[in-house]
Every structure is written in C-alpha cells, then in structure tokens.
C-alpha cells in the first residue's frame, strides 16, 4: 500500500493570497491526482498531475487558478491562487500505484479556510 502525507494539514488564509499544498508518497506511483471536497459536498477531481509535463485539468478547473507540479514519481504540489472564500475546501491528493491496480489511495487532506 502507498502512504501519503500532505502539508500543511490545515491553513487559514486571507483572500487574494495563494497557498501551495504538498503531497509526498512513500513509494513511486504511476498516477497522482488532486481532488477537492467543498463543505458538505462530495469529492470532485481537479486534475491529473503528470510527471514532467503540464497537468490535465477537468472541466471547470484551470491552470492559472490551480497550478500543479509533479517533478518526480513520489511528489506533487497544488497551488490555490488568488484565493476567495469559495475556495474553502479540503484538498486531497490521490494516487494509483500502477495502471490496472485495483487500489486507489487518498492522502489525509489539507483543510483550507479562506477569510
């Protein structure tokens, strides 16, 4: 199994600022993803973090707002830019160890509150 850590675990930020969230996995994984869980809502996929190339964003999410990096097979960052209160959510990193794997793991999440 993959053990995922995220930093920070939570933060309170002012509107207009940016926050970078880190995701570290204890083993090399094929695929990494970023999800968002808004208050009282279920999870929504933001993007697929691609190693060495630009992330692939889902409908409704753009690179300028959520820039993502993935420099290697164990690490990724998600930045929430120019934040507004609507960005208050839990942001979760998720990994699939290998294509065809029957297990998908999620990190502990980063709880973001924007004032």
């Amino acid at each position: 199994s993959a053990v995922i850590s995220q930093k920070p675990s939570r933060d309170i930020c002012q509107r207009g600022t940016s926050l970078t969230i880190q995701c570290q996995v204890d083993s090399q994984v094929t695929m990494m993803f970023w999800y968002r869980q808004q208050p009282g809502q279920s999870l929504t996929l933001i993007a697929t973090a691609n190693q060495g190339s630009e992330a692939t964003y889902e409908s409704g999410f753009v690179i300028d707002k959520f820039p993502i990096s993935r420099p290697n097979l164990t690490f990724s960052t998600l930045t929430v830019s120019n934040m507004s209160p609507e960005d208050s959510s839990i942001y979760l990193c998720s990994v699939v160890s290998a294509v065809g794997s029957d297990t998908q793991y999620f990190g502990p999440g980063t709880r973001l509150t924007v004032l």
């Binding site: 695929m31 297990t103 502990p108 709880r111």
Partner: protein, 115 residues
C-alpha cells in the same frame, strides 16, 4: 442530477445492528470503490469491485456489485461505534474502464452508531 446516487444520506443505528448502504447509477460502473471518511479527514480505502456479481468482504464489511454493474451495496454486520463515519462510493464511469483514478463520487452516507 448526480451520476452516482447514494442512499440513505444518513443512517443512525444501534450498536450490533446490521445495515446496508447503496450506490446506484444509470450508467455502467467500470470500477466501484468504497471508502470511509472520518469527519474532516482523508479517505480510507475499503474495497474495489470490478466484475458484475462480484462480492468482497473484509472483517464485518461486505460489498457487492450487481450483475449489470450499475448498483453496489455495502453491508455492515453487527455494527460497532468504530464503524461510524462517512461512507463514500466512487466509480470509474469511463467506457472501457480506462479512467484510472478519475473517479466520480456519490454524495456520501453519514453513519452514526449508538453504543
């Protein structure tokens, strides 16, 4: 409307009782994942089902995927307070099952178990 419907939205049971949570879609589910989430935390992977009619068990939790691969159920036998949390179903809904990690989630079921 939700692509993946969970029912019930919330469930309160007495310790020792059995319970069932359902996850339904009008589309084929190519991979169906069950997770448990403690309030404000990350997701704990429970089980993944892929084949029609498949059933898996872990300790007191059993998950099934129907033959048409459009409905899954999660059954907990002799519930305990430790089972309390939010249960989420997530599915790969891409034809051919090639979404690899791009999951669509249901709204979740909040389970409370009274001692």
């Amino acid at each position: 409307s939700q692509e993946l419907e969970q029912s019930p939205q919330s469930l309160i049971v007495q310790e020792g009782k059995n319970l069932t949570i359902n996850c339904t879609s009008s589309k084929t589910l190519y991979g169906l994942y069950w997770y448990k989430q403690k309030y404000g935390e990350g997701l704990i992977f429970l089980m993944m089902l892929q084949k029609g009619g498949e059933e898996k068990s872990h300790e007191k939790i059993t998950a099934k995927l129907d033959e048409k691969k459009q409905q899954s159920s999660l059954h907990i036998t002799a519930s305990q307070p430790s089972h309390a949390g939010i249960y989420l179903c997530g599915a790969d809904m891409n034809a051919g099952g090639t979404s690899y990690g791009k999951l669509t989630f249901g709204q979740g079921t909040i389970l409370t178990v009274h001692p």
